[in-house]
């Protein structure tokens, strides 16, 4: 990425500066007044990726049995006890056979006999699975699984997929052997245009040079009543560059106006509420407007909702459970409850 012939985007130039100034190169930064070199500790904290050849994989180990304990306490609520659930996300295991483990190609994928593609059918590099769990799971509390627990969960998923036996202990020393057992390890194809720099694209976007349409006609657009469905797009897009979000609602963000609920926007972002709850509609969980309608008139509604936000729940709005929110303080939970009950004022 850091070749000098690359067009000089500012962000890229900065990235190059940082990596040149990193440990090992011994060069001092050559951009006085702009930032400082990242410290080795900062780079270590940030550099968590694991590559297909397992470069970057930390040492550790985890057993299938330990993985089952973690799975059933932290993962099963969304992915199903057997990784089979199709309720919130697509299933993780299923669709692979013992023959696939031998051949390295998933037959059901080639023949299209499975109605639903699972993670295990498509996965071709084990590093991807390990890295993804390590950096992004559990969804409501990412990066809380340690290295050994990540090995354990990875081992358990592979056991659910009938690739590893129940007494297996996955570690950095044997992960390459397990890679050689993945059902779709040879399923990746470089025979398409985006893989190689010299590849031919599969679409052809040719600029019109003659007899071109004089004007662009907009054939359809969002009706006025629907334009604000996702809030004000102008506030949500980045505020630089040529493409800006359209103004679709009254401007000025909640934070700029201050008031009692100024902190709510950051809170809902931090706790990932809006991944499952819409402000004015049901997504996976109930919309905040539905919650408000149901509990507004009840006694102790605020304390009840604050408790639910903290502890999670299941069964009142459907079978998909809400995980507990361990990162939210009692005061913040009460603030969120009050905000929801008041009809989510901006």
């Amino acid at each position: 990425m850091c070749r000098s012939d690359v067009a000089a985007a500012v962000a890229l130039a900065l990235a190059c500066t940082l990596s040149h100034a990193g440990p090992g190169t011994g060069k001092a930064p050559t951009w006085p007044g702009i930032g400082r070199p990242a410290t080795p500790a900062e780079i270590r904290a940030w550099d968590i990726d694991v590559r297909p050849d397992f470069k970057g994989l930390p040492r550790g180990q985890g057993s299938v049995a330990r993985g089952q304990d973690i799975w059933e306490s932290k993962c099963a609520s969304c992915h199903g006890v057997f990784g089979e659930s199709n309720e919130v996300f697509t299933p993780i295991v299923g669709g692979t056979t013992r023959k696939d483990v031998q051949t390295g190609r998933v037959e059901a994928l080639a023949k299209g006999t499975e109605a639903q593609r699972t993670t295990m059918m498509k996965l071709s590099t084990l590093s991807t699975l390990w890295d993804y769990i390590h950096r992004a799971m559990p969804w409501n509390n990412p990066r809380t699984l340690g290295v050994d627990d990540t090995y354990a969960v990875t081992a358990y998923i592979l056991n659910l997929a009938e690739i590893l036996p129940g007494d297996f202990v996955l570690s950095d020393r044997n992960i390459r052997e397990v890679q050689a057992l993945l059902p779709n390890r040879d399923g990746k194809s470089p025979r398409h245009g985006l893989w190689l720099p010299t590849g031919k694209p599969d679409v052809r976007n040719v600029a019109c040079m003659r007899n071109c349409a004089p004007d662009v006609k907009i054939a359809s657009s969002l009706p006025d009543h629907a334009r604000g469905s996702h809030g004000n797009l102008a506030d949500q897009d980045r505020n630089r560059g040529g493409l800006r979000g359209q103004v679709t609602a009254a401007s000025a963000t909640a934070a700029a106006r201050g008031g009692e609920f100024a902190a709510v926007k950051e809170l809902t972002g931090k706790a990932a509420c809006l991944g499952c709850h819409g402000v004015d509609r049901k997504i996976v969980g109930p919309g905040f407007n539905q919650v408000s309608e149901k509990y507004r008139a009840k006694d102790n509604a605020e304390a009840y909702l604050a408790g639910k936000i903290k502890a999670g729940g299941q069964g009142i709005w459907g079978q998909v459970p809400m995980p507990p929110s361990v990162t939210i303080s009692d005061a913040d939970a009460a603030l969120l409850a009050r905000w929801i009950l008041k009809g989510t004022p901006e």
Partner: protein
């Protein structure tokens, strides 16, 4: 012979929650293959769960149940360390019985 079932049984409060994932094609008999021939029906017809020799669940299933069925039920009166056995019989007479230990 069909693949083994996956069974998890766990005491939750005063009940035992049992979760079972069965490996079965569950063909409805309504589908046609690429040559236009009807794929013959093949589905689980009977499911029983046994604890200490006593049947705690008996079910009659039909072709409306999905492929690789997931079954969850609960029953009272079991202790951790005891066994729960699940058995199915399909319309071709194939059978499968699997056992799991109830966890605390």
């Amino acid at each position: 012979m069909a693949d083994p079932m996956r069974i998890r049984a766990k005491i939750e409060g005063d009940k035992t929650v049992v979760r079972v994932l069965m490996a079965h094609e569950m063909e409805t008999g309504q589908r046609r293959d690429s040559t236009g021939k009807v794929v013959p029906a093949h589905f689980i017809q009977e499911v029983t769960a046994t604890h200490n020799g006593k049947t705690v669940l008996a079910a009659q299933w039909g072709p409306a149940i999905s492929k690789n069925p997931y079954l969850q039920f609960q029953f009272a009166g079991a202790k951790a360390g005891e066994k729960i056995a699940i058995a199915w019989v399909d319309n071709k007479g194939d059978k499968r019985t699997d056992e799991a230990t109830i966890a605390a």
